[in-house]
């Protein structure tokens, strides 16, 4: 691995992103021609439709249209939401931090808890603890995350109403300081983050367990033991850190699944992130917003993969040994 490798990865990421833009273009301009939607208005005359086509630039040849589209995208001009007439980029900008908050917290928690579970399972491989943890992670993988979310609402917001069931802050309330607002957000985060964490848990658990098992059976461990290190020291100082490395790369690779979970969980909890934005756009058939969020999600996954590659580049002990 070398700087050239990294440059190659960055180049590949760029290329993938370009293809997403091309794909978006074809999907939305060619298939979802906005004027076909508008032409459904009963009173549109042919002249009005022609004018609309000119406005949207659809009367140009395809290549011209694509250049316009690409240029717009680079300038972060994703058009205007059909429903709210707001700039799509503005709406996405406002929603993005909330999704990052939800997804980031969920990922961190899932990594921590999942790895912890994985360590326990690996050191008790084959025993009941291992089996039950395995079963638990399989269950959380198979269960739809939005269903888990709804059950959380049922239990914690309806049956025993101790937690709020939706949105990011208590609506309509004026906060005396940003601390109290942050606390309200924290309170509202608990259930959605729990759902997200449960959804992601299984993967981290499995990977951690697997690498731990591998590492623990390596010869060197026996050597270290022979030297006289305690069981706990061996696990803590050597086995765990090295098993953690694939976890980092997994975080990035799982981003695709994370995005899917973000959409459904935000919908269940009315969490004002990109997921809920997409969901509303689905119902409104607001194609500019759908295209924008698709692009952002894809870009996010591509960037996350690239970040994982970079991280791996710096963390891989083989590289350190250079």
């Amino acid at each position: 691995m070398s700087g050239r490798w990294l440059a190659g990865k960055a180049g590949a990421a760029m290329l993938t992103l370009i293809f997403v833009i091309i794909f978006n273009f074809f999907l939305f301009r060619v298939m979802g021609d906005p004027t076909t939607q508008l032409a459904r208005l009963p009173n549109s005359s042919p002249e009005e439709i022609e004018k609309l086509r000119a406005d949207y630039g659809i009367d140009k040849p395809l290549s011209g249209q694509f250049l316009d589209y690409a240029g717009d995208t680079v300038r972060l001009d994703f058009g205007v939401s059909q429903r709210s007439r707001e700039e799509v980029w503005d709406e996405m900008k406002a929603a993005l931090p909330w999704t990052l908050l939800l997804v980031g917290t969920g990922t961190v928690l899932a990594t921590l808890i999942g790895s912890w579970m994985g360590v326990i399972a690996a050191t008790r491989r084959g025993k009941k603890t291992d089996d039950s943890l395995l079963g638990f992670s399989l269950l959380t993988y198979a269960a739809p995350e939005y269903w888990i979310g709804i059950i959380l609402i049922l239990v914690f917001a309806v049956a025993a109403p101790i937690l709020p069931a939706g949105q990011q802050v208590t609506p309509g309330v004026e906060f005396s300081s940003w601390i109290s607002e942050a606390l309200s957000v924290a309170e509202h985060m608990i259930l959605p983050v729990t759902a997200m964490t449960l959804m992601l848990l299984g993967q981290y658990f499995l990977i951690m367990r697997s690498s731990m098992v591998d590492v623990l059976t390596e010869d060197f461990i026996t050597v270290k033991r022979a030297i006289g290190l305690s069981h706990e020291q061996v696990i803590r100082r050597h086995a765990v850190p090295n098993a953690l490395l694939p976890l980092v790369t997994l975080s990035a690779i799982q981003f695709g699944a994370v995005v899917g979970g973000a959409i459904t969980i935000e919908t269940v909890f009315s969490w004002p992130g990109l997921g809920e934005l997409s969901f509303n756009a689905i119902n409104d058939k607001d194609f500019p917003v759908l295209a924008g969020t698709f692009l952002v999600f894809s870009a996010g996954v591509i960037l996350a993969n690239l970040a994982a590659d970079i991280l791996y580049f710096f963390l891989d002990p083989r590289v350190q040994a250079r």
Binding site: A12, L15, T16, F19, V20, L27, M31, G32, L134, L138, L139, Y141, A142, A143, P144, Y146, W147, I148, I150, I151, I153, L154, A157, V158, A159, A165, Q203, L206, I207, R209, S210, V213, T217, L250, I253, Q254, F255, G256, A257, V259, G260, G261, I263, T264, T267, V268, S278, F279, I282, K285, F287, L290, T293, F294, F297, S298, G300, V301, I302, N305
Partner: protein, 301 residues
């Protein structure tokens, strides 16, 4: 929502049993808890998919004034927000999940295998192109892509099957391609070529049979993903509006305020069925993977 081959391998290895090497697949299916659970549950849901509408006690579409009623003798799982019988809907809903799951996985398998076979066998620019395509599909987040396509095409059962199948093929493609690479260089292939056999013949008689088990095992896992995808799309409102599925049951429950009404009988069963079915199919998938790929088994200490 995507099962990366990495995590599938890990799951398979984690679940792998010992001492099963000498046995055939039938033994593994019938004598491990994974196999028994998988076959049992899958069998049950397959049965429901075919006969569900016949054995359902009430018309799942019938509405009544008895709305969101809690379980009773007449309605063992209570009623929906339209007053329909939840239990009947549950039985009937199996069909959509099974049909979409298997059909989409089938399409995905055909697409993936074709791409993997062609790219892997012929190599060169074809392969680079197809590989690039494959990588693109692997990287792109699947649910947003499915959402966009389903919304554009106006959801129906057929659209769902095509959309899910079309977005899930890359994993199979990659596995097939890797396998074809190794097979391509093998002696019997060289010999066949030397004897003047056509490419299509070689692919059909040598490469394909050796790849089939791999494709099959992987496809079973894709079924699980397809079932989850259909449910998610239905929950988001992109399911077939003319059919009842577990996903649309959850959608209706959520939209009509069932959680607030405390209607656990409406909310829990559909999700539970999805979970059980996905679990069963996944376990079977891991079993097949392990059988097909013995090196995935964990090393004994």
């Amino acid at each position: 929502m995507s099962v990366t081959s990495a995590s599938a391998e890990v799951a398979t290895a984690a679940l792998a049993g010992e001492g099963l090497d000498e046995h055939g697949i039938r033994y593994k299916l019938l004598h491990t808890w994974r196999g028994r659970f998988g076959i049992g549950v899958l069998g049950l849901f397959l049965f429901l998919a075919v006969f569900g509408s016949l054995i359902a006690p009430d018309d799942p579409n019938a509405s009544s004034l008895d709305v969101l009623a809690s379980p009773s003798f007449a309605h063992p799982l209570g009623t929906t927000e339209q007053g329909a019988d939840v239990f009947s809907q549950l039985l009937v809903g199996a069909r959509v999940s099974i049909v979409v799951g298997f059909a989409a996985a089938f399409i995905s398998a055909v697409l993936g295998s074709t791409v993997g076979l062609v790219g892997g066998y012929f190599g060169g620019w074809t392969d680079r192109l197809l590989d690039g395509l494959e990588n693109w599909f692997l990287v792109i987040p699947t649910l947003p892509l499915m959402i966009v396509l389903a919304r554009l095409l106006d959801p129906s059962l057929g659209v769902l099957i095509v959309v899910i199948g079309f977005t899930s093929w890359a994993g199979t493609g990659r596995i097939v391609r890797a396998q074809v690479f190794t097979l391509r260089e093998r002696a019997f292939v060289e010999r066949a070529r030397a004897l003047g056999a056509k490419d299509s013949y070689i692919i059909r008689t040598h490469i394909l049979p050796n790849t089939m088990p791999l494709i099959f095992a992987n496809t079973v896992l894709i079924v699980a993903v397809a079932i989850l995808s259909e449910a998610a799309l239905a929950f988001l409102g992109l399911g077939d509006p003319t059919r009842i599925s577990w996903g649309t049951m959850l959608e209706n429950a959520f939209n009509s305020g069932a959680p607030s009404a405390g209607a656990w009988w409406y909310v829990i069963p559909p999700g539970l069925c999805i979970t059980l079915l996905v679990l069963a199919v996944s376990l079977l998938g891991y079993l097949f993977e392990e059988h097909v790929n013995p090196r995935l088994r964990e090393a004994n200490a």
